[in-house]
Amino acid sequence: MDLIFRGVAIYLFLLVLFRILGKRSLAETTTFDFVLLLIIGEATQQALLGNDFSVTNALVLIIILMGVAMLFAKLKSKYKKLDRLLEGTPLILVDHGKPLKKRMTQSHVDEDDIMEAARIHHGLEQLKQIKFAVLERDGTISIIPFA
């Protein structure tokens, strides 16, 4: 019972925390962010396993975490509101070459981020070549160039 409580509590805590941090936090993982994630994983491990390092405990815990993930996936597909709440909704950041500054500020995205995505995916050189730039639910920026 204790293991279920630990697994579910840590899952929900991390779910809320990473939702609070914003979409861009994981989409633009730097080397240091990667190290930070490893440290978070290490800190979480002790809380999840306690003093029981047996294979059984680890297997049961993995099953619990996967079970919670599956449950959320089912609930999200069934309830659109929950899906929006947990995953967020896409947001247009550039409209016909014009950056939407207030949206960008609130989403912690700047023009450099948008131009980087435009260069990588479409080889674009200027902002005015972008018809729409959209901050997607997973934190990536998708670019729709003028035809």
Binding site: G88, I92, L100, V134, I144
Partner: protein, 166 residues
Amino acid sequence: MQADRQIEIITHTLELDENLTQQAKGWKVQKICGILIAAVIVLTASGLFGSGPLSWRKIEKAGVILQYETFGRVEKEADIRLQVDGGKALAITIPMRYLDHFKVEKIVPDAYESRIAKGYVTYTFRGAIEGKNIIHFFLYPKKAGNIKGIWQVNQQHIQLTHFIYP
């Protein structure tokens, strides 16, 4: 909503579920949570979750000084420090119901004798020398929640209260 009004409203041909009201709510929640995270860091530094000035408690009673941490965590060592004036044998009586919440890891120095009677454990320290005698109880909380107990140290009753975080 104020934040909602500030966001640029545009019309577009894209088939996407852009919910600006929810976006605005989300940003507001993010800001509130940012403040909460800062508050948690400050409270942690001050000892609300253990190991800080808010957590340490010192009780002084007729030659007995007892220091302990009010806030603890499950399976994290708690040090209860007793300082007693020397010159006489020392007996510490602790309720079993209190000790049941802990795993007694170590008592430094070792007690000369321990006795169980009527739901209480009495630790006796023989030949206490002149000056100040210091005794440490190293305990590991086993469960989360409130723990209360009255210790009897040489006829002095001292109430200890702990809150153990999971």
